[in-house]
């Protein structure tokens, strides 16, 4: 490790420990680390955005691609939101961004996210494999009953009520699945932080073990 790397490892390790101090209780060391993290991320994000504007817009614009002046002006108009008198003008670039975003997205939603998935599920029912067929059937029932839970134009009584209640069970199962995945994910972050502290900070920076 070079002296700079050792120094950076020490800084990172101290900041990591400051963040972990929150587990004991809220304290100023944690808050300092939190502010450093937010500040660094904001600074890096701003620089990356400027770099992106320069390479994808300013440079080609200066080389003669004059049409790129339109998105540049629209981008600058977003900042008019800071003005009391001209704030209304910032709605135009927002309108373009929202319109483009929705337009790009909508085209493939039906095929990619609804029909495609439903087709694949239904197809599994007829593949001749009992396990896959039962699994696909459960997914299909879950799909239909969950959708029925979100029908709010009719009171949940009779057939619709039963379906919605079954749908609620599927929703709860889905939530628990998501929550357990979230828990494993956060545990992964803890593990990685300790791997850094033990393998990099203590072993490499402190003890010089490569």
């Amino acid at each position: 490790m070079t002296p700079i790397e050792v120094l950076m490892t020490w800084v990172a390790a101290i900041l990591t420990l400051m963040v972990f101090s929150f587990l004991w209780k809220e304290n100023k060391f944690y808050r300092i680390a939190e502010h450093v993290g937010v500040g660094a991320a904001a600074g890096h994000g701003t620089l990356t955005a400027i770099n992106s504007i320069q390479t994808s817009c300013l440079n080609p614009l200066l080389k003669g691609q004059l049409l790129l002046a339109i998105p540049l002006i629209l981008g600058l108009m977003v900042f008019l939101r800071l003005s009391k008198n001209l704030g209304w003008a910032s709605r135009y670039p927002m309108m373009f961004m929202t319109g483009t975003g929705i337009g790009v997205m909508l085209g493939a939603i039906m095929e990619g996210q609804i029909i495609g998935l439903l087709k694949a599920t239904v197809a599994d029912i007829f593949v001749g494999n009992a396990f896959l067929a039962v699994s696909a059937l459960i997914v299909l029932v879950g799909f239909v009953t969950t959708l029925s839970y979100f029908v709010f134009t009719k009171e949940h009584k009779g057939g619709l009520g039963t379906s919605a209640r079954i749908g609620r069970v599927f929703i709860m199962a889905s939530f628990s699945c998501n929550w357990s995945a979230e828990m494993i994910y956060y545990l992964g972050l803890i593990v990685s932080a300790f791997m850094f502290l033990i393998n990099v900070w203590i072993k490499q920076a402190m003890l010089g073990i490569v």
Partner: protein, 278 residues
């Protein structure tokens, strides 16, 4: 018994943290090598890359962010090692602001040159394209309109690798790394539906339920964070950090599961106790 359970219900949460940290540290200091069963999505992921014909073009959409780099790094590194060991062309771009820095950090671990790959001829990296799904769509439609230069400011038309590549029609496989749970929708909508491009995903554990819904219809295979990384390392005999992380996670989950069970027992016993008193 009820007194014990009631005490348990009010136990200081810091005990849980202490137990978890101790159990997490053990496998990091001394790896346990707990058995890992390779799942079907990971087997598919490995075989799809392994079976790519010579000269295939792989697009790698990097969407990692610094805060979640630790959970995707092992899977990405294992994947990049496998890709560079194949006779394929590699084109990377980033849909997150942190992407270029993180991608370069991972490429420095993988070292494509050690696999005989040459920058510009066998692989190329582009910077961050802002706009989320719009950027993903733009890169699929026209790479030259999305980026005029690569990461090192070389004009795209001067890069030999890019001479015959310009849109999703020239691409055989797209691998997306994403940590925003719904970002997998972008590739499905902009690459899979219009171009029928084969799609593989790498994500964190918490976003796995989102991509699992697309498997195997739209997403042909996926790696769920460090769990997927461990499985990839086993399948490809690629040494990496995934195995240690998985051991630590397995042990770290024990106190959590234990406390969830005991907490529920305590809660219900207190609740039923009160009902009986009434």
């Amino acid at each position: 018994m009820s007194e014990f359970l009631s005490k348990l219900d009010r136990i200081d949460r810091r005990w849980l943290y202490a137990f978890t940290i101790i159990l997490v540290i053990i496998p990091i200091v001394s790896p346990l090598g707990l058995p890992v069963k390779v799942s079907k999505p990971t087997r598919d992921f490995h075989s799809i890359i392994k079976d790519l014909p010579e000269g295939s073009v792989v697009v790698y959409e990097e969407g990692s962010i610094s805060g979640q780099y630790d959970v995707t790094r092992a899977a990405c590194v294992a994947t990049l090692k496998l890709i560079f060991s194949q006779p394929v062309k590699f084109v990377a771009f980033c849909d997150s602001a942190d992407g270029p820095v993180l991608l370069k950090a991972m490429l420095s671990i993988v070292n494509p040159e050690s696999y005989g790959k040459e920058y510009g001829k066998d692989y190329v990296i582009f910077d961050f394209a802002p706009g989320g799904e719009t950027a993903t769509a733009s890169f699929a439609t026209d790479m030259r309109k999305t980026f005029s230069t690569d990461h090192y400011r070389t004009p795209i038309d001067e890069i030999p690798l890019m001479s015959e590549i310009n849109s999703a029609e020239d691409v055989d496989l797209i691998i997306q790394v994403f940590v925003g749970c719904y970002n997998c929708d972008w590739v499905v909508r902009q690459w899979v539906v219009p171009y029928k491009t084969t799609y593989l995903g790498i994500t964190s554990e918490c976003c796995t339920p989102m991509i699992a819904a697309y498997y195997p219809a739209s997403c042909k295979a996926y790696l769920p964070g460090t769990i997927g990384a461990t499985e990839m390392e086993i399948l490809g005999k690629i040494p990496g950090e995934g195995a240690t992380v998985s051991d630590a996670k397995n042990l770290g989950l024990i106190p959590m599961i234990l406390f969830i069970i005991l907490g529920n027992i305590a809660y219900f016993s207190e609740r039923f106790g009160k009902e009986e008193e009434k």
